[in-house]
Amino acid sequence: MASRHKKSPAGPAKPLTPYSLPLPNVDPAALTGKLIVIEGADAVGRSTQVIQLRQWLEQEGHAVLDTGMARSALAGKGIARAKDGNTLGPVTMTLFYVTDFADRLENEIIPALRAGFIVLTDRYTFSIMARAIARGEDAEWIERVCGFGLVPHAIFYLKARVKQLVSRVVIGRGAFDYWESGMDCHFGHDMYESFVKYQTQLIRALDHMSKRYGFTEIDATRTPECIFQDLQKRIAALNLQKVPARGPKVSA
C-alpha cells in the first residue's frame, strides 16, 4: 500500500498528500512548503544534523520550522510527566505520541507549509510506528492510526548499527536512558542488554519501513561533517528555490 508513495527526492514538486486518510479542513494544494524528515534510531546523531541544516537553510534564505517528538503545546508536558513516572503502558505511550504528532502536524507543520516554509522534522510517524512494533503492537493497526500523516518530500534515514549507538551513548552521554533502553518492556536484565535488544528491534522495524516508504538511507557511521555534506547535497537536489512562497509574509 505505502510503496505507492515511494518517490525520488529530486522529483517534480507534487502537492503533499496524506498516506491514507485526509485530515479535515486541510487543502493539500495550499501547502507550498517542503517537508523534510530526519529519521533514525536513538543516539544516531539526528538532532545535531537538524541544528546544522537549519542554520544552513536559513543562511540560504529559506524560512525553516524545526520540530520533533514530544514538543507539542498540547501533549509535550503530559508525555514528559508520564515518562517521569515510568508508568506508561505500550499502547498508551504510542497513542500519546500520536496525539503529540497530530497536534504538531495540524497546528505547526501544516500552517508552516501553507506559508511556504521548509519544515525539518526530527523523527516522524515512522519512529512512533517503529517503537510500537518493537513493543509487540500490531503493525497494521499503528500504520492505519498514523495514516493522516503527510507524505514528506524526503525522508532521510540515518543508519547505524547498534554497536555504534552503544558507543555513542556511553561516550557521549555516559549513561543509558530508561526509555531508550526499552526498560518499560524489560527487553533484557539490565539497561545495556535491554538497550541492545530494543534498539535492534527498532532498527529492524525502520529498515522494513525504509523500502515500504521510500526512505533515503544515509550512512551514519561517518563523521557528523561527512553526514552533513551528504544531506546538504541531497536537500539541494530537492529544488527548494522553486517553492513558491505564497501565504503570509515571514517576519523572522
Partner: protein, 242 residues
C-alpha cells in the same frame, strides 16, 4: 487486533453503558454495580476520560480550546488505553466485574459526529476488550436535553460541539451535536449488539430490566468465574476463618 469483535475470554466480566448525555446511564450503572457488590462480587468501576496520566493534558486542551477533531479523538483514545492497560485488563484477568461508564462506542459516536473518519476511529480502538454486556440507553433527544438543561448551570464548550462552529448559540449547538451523536448510536446499536434500554421508563423499571439481563446473560458464568468474597455469617469479620 479486532478485540471488539472477538469475544473476551477473561474470567472477569466487562459491563458497559452508553447513551447521549442526559440518558441516565450513569445512575443505572451505579445502581447495578452496588447490587453486584452487595451480592459479594468483586466490582471495579471505570469512567470515561478519567486516566490520571492524561488528565492534565485533557484539561489543558479543553481550557485553552486547543483540540482539533483529530487530537480530541487521539487524546481520548490515549486515556482509554491507559485505563485499559493499567486497570481494566489486569482486573479482568483477575476475575473482577468491571463496570465502565462509556466505552469505545462513545468515541465511535462522538468523534464521527465531529467529522473524524468512521473506519479510522474503529481501528484506533481495536485494542479495546470486548464487553460481555453493553447497555444502550435509548433516549429521545428532547428528553435528554431537558434533563441536562434542567440540572446543570452551564453547558461545556466541547460537550456542546462548539468547536465545530455549527451554531454560535450554546444550546442550539448542543442540540445539533447531540442529535448527530444520537444518530451514530442508533446506527451502530445492532452491529455492536447493544442491549437497548428504553430510558424514558422509570429509574426502577430500567434497573429491574438491567438486572434481569445481567442474570440471564451472565448468571452462570458469574458464579463460576468471577471473584467473590466468601459470604460470612453475621457477626464474623472479614478475613477471619468462617
Amino acid at each position: 487486533m479486532d478485540s471488539l469483535i472477538t469475544p473476551n475470554r477473561f474470567p472477569g466480566k466487562l459491563i458497559i453503558v452508553e447513551g447521549i448525555d442526559g440518558s441516565g446511564k450513569s445512575t443505572q450503572l451505579s445502581l447495578l454495580s452496588r447490587w453486584l457488590r452487595s451480592s459479594g462480587y468483586a466490582v471495579a468501576f471505570s469512567e470515561w476520560n478519567s486516566s490520571p496520566l492524561v488528565h492534565d493534558t485533557t484539561r489543558r486542551g479543553k481550557k485553552k480550546e486547543m483540540f482539533t477533531p483529530t487530537t480530541f479523538s487521539l487524546l481520548h483514545a490515549t486515556d482509554f488505553a491507559d485505563r485499559t492497560e493499567r486497570y481494566i485488563l489486569p482486573l479482568m484477568r483477575a476475575g473482577a466485574i468491571v463496570c465502565a461508564d462509556r466505552y469505545a462506542y462513545t468515541a465511535f459516536a462522538r468523534d464521527v459526529a465531529r467529522g473524524v473518519d468512521r473506519k479510522w476511529v474503529r481501528n484506533l480502538y481495536s485494542f479495546a476488550i470486548r464487553p460481555n454486556l453493553a447497555f444502550y440507553f435509548k433516549t429521545p433527544l428532547e428528553v435528554a436535553i431537558s434533563r441536562i438543561l434542567g440540572g446543570r448551570d452551564a453547558l461545556k464548550y466541547y460537550e456542546a460541539g462548539m468547536d465545530l462552529g455549527i451554531s454560535s448559540d450554546l444550546v442550539e449547538s448542543f442540540r445539533i451535536f447531540q442529535g448527530r451523536i444520537l444518530d451514530e448510536y442508533e446506527a451502530m446499536a445492532e452491529e455492536m449488539g447493544f442491549q437497548i434500554i428504553d430510558a424514558t421508563q422509570s429509574i426502577e423499571d430500567q434497573q429491574k430490566q438491567m438486572r434481569k439481563i445481567v442474570l440471564k446473560q451472565l448468571g452462570r458464568s458469574l458464579k463460576s468465574s468471577v471473584l467473590r468474597a466468601p459470604i460470612l455469617p453475621s457477626g464474623q469479620m472479614n478475613g477471619q476463618p468462617a
